[in-house]
């Protein structure tokens, strides 16, 4: 496990003893870790391990109750300005896509550049079209979310998040709601994004993707980080018993 103090210099996200409770249920039990700029980290673990909650605290969709989270030098706190800044620096992709069904694909992507970054409509649209081309669905720009497939929707969701030009992208199980034949088209976009140097935190069960793309794999269980290591070490020589069990169960499928 990397020493926290040594990583501070080039870390873009620092989490220190992060705790979170849902009522009486202790979801996050003191998460301490840091992520470097450009690092790709896959977070895995059994359901209910708190991995989704953890990455949702990083753009403050969930509020941590103890500990500190610092993203790109901005402390996540009750400061309204900091929250606004974080949300612009961190993009997020959800399991259920969460596209806005009443807006066209193009409008989904241009919405926050226009309203939050105050770009002009034409500027936002040309950027959006470039992004849609990058994720390979520029020809669907004027369709509505309900008219395109799940894989296409998730790629729109990625383009929508990229439209804010974030420094960090969070992926919360981006392929779990997809039919098997659509998983790869989304993973391809994520691979391309990783190659471009984006800092990425990915919660996923796609172990192939983790092995191939991740710089580091974090295994969480019962609200704590059990083990973190480079994918080679993590998959081939896991140290912890629970990690071993999880890997053997996951790879069986």
């Amino acid at each position: 496990m990397a020493d926290l103090e040594n990583t501070l210099d080039d870390s873009i996200i620092i989490c220190k003893d992060v705790h979170k409770w849902f009522d009486d249920f202790h979801v996050l039990k003191g998460i301490t870790t840091a992520f470097k700029k450009g690092e790709k980290v896959v977070i895995c673990g059994p359901s209910g391990s708190g991995k989704s909650t953890f990455i949702r605290t990083i753009n403050r969709l969930e509020i941590h109750q103890r500990g500190r989270i610092i993203v790109d030098g901005i402390e996540l706190s009750d400061d309204l300005r900091n929250i606004d800044r974080i949300r612009q620096e961190v993009g997020m992709v959800f399991q259920q896509f969460n596209l806005f069904p009443h807006l066209s694909v193009l409008q989904n992507v241009t919405l926050s550049p226009i309203w939050v970054k105050k770009l002009s409509k034409s500027e936002a649209e040309s950027e959006a079209l470039a992004l849609l081309e990058r994720v390979g669905i520029e020809e669907q720009a004027h369709k509505f979310p309900a008219q395109i497939s799940g894989g296409q929707q998730q790629r729109v969701a990625i383009a929508r998040a990229l439209a804010m030009q974030p420094k960090i992208m969070l992926f919360d199980e981006p392929t779990s709601a997809l039919d098997p034949e659509m998983i790869n088209e989304v993973l391809d976009v994520m691979r391309e994004l990783a190659a471009s140097g984006m800092t990425m935190l990915v919660v996923t069960h796609e172990m192939g993707f983790a092995r191939e793309v991740a710089d580091r794999v974090i295994f969480m269980d019962e609200g704590a980080i059990v083990e973190e290591a480079a994918p080679g070490v993590f998959f081939d020589n896991p140290q912890n018993e629970r990690t071993q069990l999880f890997i053997s169960q996951t790879l069986q499928h």
Partner: protein
């Protein structure tokens, strides 16, 4: 990079950006705004009342009302205002309960008729529903009152049904049951019937359990009880009840039960109007129980009656209960339209009190509280009922 180093969190946030502070400030500001508004209204009110020479208190409730109320529980003009208001409350409750019972029966019949396989029945029911729910209730009540009931023949030319029911422009006269000396014997029979029924019920329940068969445990008990009650009725010397018939005495009928024209018009209006809405509730409730459910029930070998009792009705009831509650509440609130035809319900009596005392603010308070209490009690009961059928159904 220095600025990456953790610094202490809370003291650095200026309060105008701190979410927690803003939440509190916003709410405090909102409350202050509301209080200011209320304060201005209150000052205005005091000024207005001074101009009228009134003070705000409830003492007037103990004064003599001095006005007559045409129907309801015992009341004299020399009674207090409080008593007068109570008469109104009871009248509202009375018309609401009778209205709810009748509207439910009407709505149930019409709602089922709308799903009948008989084309004529189905369409008559549909026409009734569409006609009566698309015409304002007040218009209907005024119509029944002024165009129908007040146009009925005079007392001496009353419509007479079965020799005991008289309908004329002064209202409806019904026979009322009077207990005779033999009533105790019959009540004794009833008690025996109940005991017998309970025993039969338990026996059958046990038998069904032993055979591990579902069934209708009251299948023996119910007929047994009815048989005892029926036989007991005729065995009682001189019958347990006699009908007291209304009889023409002088210029009017005396005896029996009397429904005033105002009460009758209000009740007819409320029942026919609400019945149309309840019919729709019932129809959509039954339709909501998907066709597949019925087919599944048939597929596992239940017969028509079992399907209705075990599958369709319990599920339909669950769908029906919430909208039915709001119809009951609507009926109760709509009974305030009594003021248009002079039936002394709580709103009408309150209105008279306002005109006499000028104490409009406390009386409005009393009126609103009464309706709120009735509404909240009804919805609390229906919520309880709703929970119960939901538990049983699952």
């Amino acid at each position: 990079m220095e600025n990456n180093l953790p610094k202490s969190v809370s003291e650095k946030i200026p309060f105008w950006r701190d979410v927690r502070v803003l939440r509190v400030l916003f709410q405090v500001g909102f409350l202050i705004g509301i209080l200011l508004l209320a304060g201005i209204l209150y000052m205005n009110m005091l000024r207005g009342l001074r101009g009228l020479g009134l003070t705000l208190n409830l003492d007037f409730l103990n004064d003599e009302a001095g006005f007559g109320i045409s129907e309801g529980i015992a009341y004299e003009p020399s009674d207090t205002y409080l008593r007068a208001f109570w008469v109104g409350v009871i009248n509202t409750i009375k018309v609401s309960i009778i209205g709810i019972v009748c509207a439910t029966i009407l709505g149930l019949v019409v709602g089922i008729a709308r799903l009948s396989s008989n084309w004529l029945v189905r369409n008559i029911a549909a026409i009734y529903v569409e006609c009566f729910r698309n015409i304002p209730l007040l218009l209907q009540i005024l119509f029944w009152y002024t165009a129908v009931i007040l146009q009925l023949p005079s007392v001496r030319q009353s419509f007479t049904f079965f020799g005991g029911v008289f309908i004329n422009q002064r209202g409806v006269y019904l026979p009322s049951p009077q207990a005779t000396s033999g009533v105790q014997i019959w009540l004794g029979c009833l008690a025996g019937g109940v005991i017998l029924a309970v025993i039969l019920y338990l026996v059958r329940l046990r038998k069904l359990r032993q055979m591990e068969q579902p069934g209708f445990p009251a299948k023996w008990a119910l007929p047994a009880f009815l048989l005892v009650a029926f036989v007991g009725w005729f065995l009682t010397p001189g019958r347990p009840f006699t009908w007291e018939l209304p009889a023409l005495k002088g210029f009017n009928f005396a005896g029996g039960t009397y429904l005033s024209p105002e009460f009758s018009a209000l009740l007819i209006g409320l029942v026919i109007y609400t019945g149309a809405f309840i019919a729709e509730v019932v129809r959509s409730g039954i339709q909501a129980v998907a066709k597949g459910q019925r087919e599944a029930a048939k597929a596992i070998g239940l017969n028509e009656f079992q399907t209705l009792r075990l599958i369709v009705l319990p599920q339909a009831l669950r769908v029906i209960a919430p909208p039915l509650t709001s119809q009951y509440l609507n009926l109760t609130k709509n009974s305030s339209l009594a003021v248009a035809i002079g039936f002394p319900d709580l709103f009408n009596v309150g209105n008279t009190m306002m005109n006499q005392t000028g104490q409009s603010i406390p009386i409005f308070g009393m009126i609103m509280m009464s309706y709120l209490i009735i509404s909240l009690t009804t919805s609390a009961y229906m919520n309880w009922y709703n929970r119960r059928i939901n538990q049983i159904g699952r």
